[in-house]
C-alpha cells in the first residue's frame, strides 16, 4: 500500500495567497485544522491561530479574507481529496455498481487511505467536515459565495455520484437528490452515532462505525435505485406505489 503523492488543487477564489505554496501558508493550514478540530469553529479565531504559530494576525489575513473563507478552503481541500481518492480507486473498475460502492466507501471514510500530505491531518479534517461542514452554506451569503465558486468541489463530487447512479439506472428520476442525500447521510450518521444516538441505528463501537455507515449507505442507495424497477419479476411497474395503500 504505497502512499501516493496526490496534488490537491483548491479553487482560486478561496484564498488571497495559495497557502500550499509557502511555509507560513502550510503552517496556517496545519494548525487551523488541528485547532478547529479541537475547539470548533465558534471558538477558533485568527488571533489564537497567530499565537499558536508564532505569527501575527495581519499575516493570516493576507492569506484568507476571513475565518469563513479559510473554513471553506479547508472543506474544499477535503472534497478535492475525496474526489482524488475516488478517481484513484475506481479507475480500473468496469462495473458502475462496483464503482458506486467504492464511492460510498470513501465518503463513509471506511476505505483505505492512500495519500498523505504532510501538513494536513486528514482524519482531523474529516471530523471537521462531519461536525462543521453544514455551516459552509447555511447562511445568508450562500448565493454570493456560490457565485464565487465556494461549493464547486462539493457540487462536482455530487454530480459524479449522480452520473454513476444514472449509469446504473438511466430511468432513475432523482440522481442529484440521491447523491447529496448520500453524502449528507454519511456525515449525519457518523455525527449522530457520537452525539445524538437516538437519531441513527449505527453504533459508535469497536472501530466499526465507518463500516456500519457504509453498509447503511449501500442499503439506502441500492434500495432506492432499484426499488421501483425490479419489483414483480423485473417489469418496470410502479408496484410499490400501489402496495403502500
Amino acid at each position: 500500500m504505497n502512499n501516493l503523492i496526490i496534488n490537491i488543487k483548491v479553487h482560486e477564489g478561496l484564498y488571497l495567497i495559495d497557502p500550499q505554496t509557502t511555509k507560513l501558508g502550510r503552517r496556517i493550514i496545519e494548525h487551523s485544522v488541528r485547532m478547529i478540530d479541537e475547539m470548533g469553529m465558534e471558538c477558533f479565531t485568527f488571533g489564537k491561530l497567530s499565537k499558536e504559530i508564532n505569527s501575527a494576525e495581519p499575516s493570516i489575513y493576507r492569506y484568507f479574507e476571513n475565518k469563513h473563507q479559510l473554513f471553506v478552503y479547508l472543506l474544499n481541500w477535503y472534497w478535492e481529496w475525496v474526489a482524488a481518492r475516488i478517481n484513484l480507486n475506481t479507475m480500473n473498475i468496469e462495473s458502475a455498481a462496483k464503482r458506486l460502492k467504492i464511492v460510498l466507501d470513501v465518503i463513509a471514510d471506511s476505505a483505505k487511505k492512500n495519500s498523505s500530505i504532510e501538513f494536513v491531518d486528514e482524519e482531523a479534517l474529516h471530523r471537521i467536515v462531519v461536525q462543521e461542514g453544514a455551516k459552509a452554506y447555511h447562511h445568508k451569503k450562500v448565493d454570493a459565495n456560490n457565485k464565487e465558486g465556494f461549493f464547486l468541489a462539493y457540487k462536482q463530487l455530487c454530480e459524479k455520484i449522480a452520473d454513476l447512479v444514472l449509469e446504473i439506472n438511466p430511468n432513475f428520476p432523482y440522481p442529484r437528490s440521491l447523491a447529496s442525500t448520500l453524502v449528507e447521510t454519511a456525515n449525519n450518521n457518523l455525527y449522530f452515532a457520537q452525539h445524538l444516538p437516538r437519531l441513527t441505528d449505527v453504533k459508535d463501537e469497536e472501530n466499526r462505525l465507518s463500516q456500519s455507515v457504509k453498509d447503511l449507505l449501500e442499503y439506502f442507495c441500492f434500495g432506492i435505485i432499484y426499488a421501483y424497477d425490479f419489483t414483480k419479476n423485473g417489469k418496470h411497474e410502479k408496484t410499490l406505489l400501489s402496495l403502500q395503500n
Copy 2:
C-alpha cells in the same frame, strides 16, 4: 378548514421565563422570528432585537440565557408544532403507510396548515428551520445541550417516524436513520432548490416546490422500506444485493 387552537409546549430548559406567558416574551418571539428570517442568525443580535421592540437588552437576557438558547427555543417550538399537526392529521387513519405519507406531507410543508398562533409567523419560522436548523447541533457544546434536553422535540419526532416505519415493515433494519434522513432530506432539498440547484432534482418553480419534495420523500422512503422485501415475488430475499454486482 378551521384554524384549531393548538397549544405549543416547549421544554423548560430552553428559557428562563416562559416567553409565551408574557407580553414582552411574545414580542421577543414574534420579532426574533421575523428578524432571523430576514437577516440570518449571524447578523441577528439581542441589541438589534431590543431596539426593534423598544425594550432593553438586559430584559431579553432575563428570558433567554443567550442568542443560541433563543434559537433552539424557536426550533423546538417548530418541531412541537409539526408534531401537533401530525397528530391532528393522522389520529383517525388506520393504515400506517397512509399515516407515514401524511408525516412526509407535513415535514415537506405541503400539508394544509391548520393552526395559527397570532404571535408566530410559521412560514418564516419554517424558512429559519430550513436555512439555519443544522446549526442547532453542529458545535462543540452538543453533548451538554443534549443533556439539557435541547433536542428533545426533534428526537421525539424522529422516533415517531421510526415507529411508523417499523409498523409498516417490522424487519426494516434502519428505522432511526431513515427517519432522520427523511427530515434532513426534506429540509436540504427545499434549501438546495433555492440556493444550490445542482444538488437536487426538485425545482423552485410555480409554487410546487413543497409538493415536489413530498414526491421525492415518498419515492425514497417507500423505496427503501420495501426494496429488499418485495423483490422476487414477495419472498424475503436479498435479491438486490446480488443484482448490484
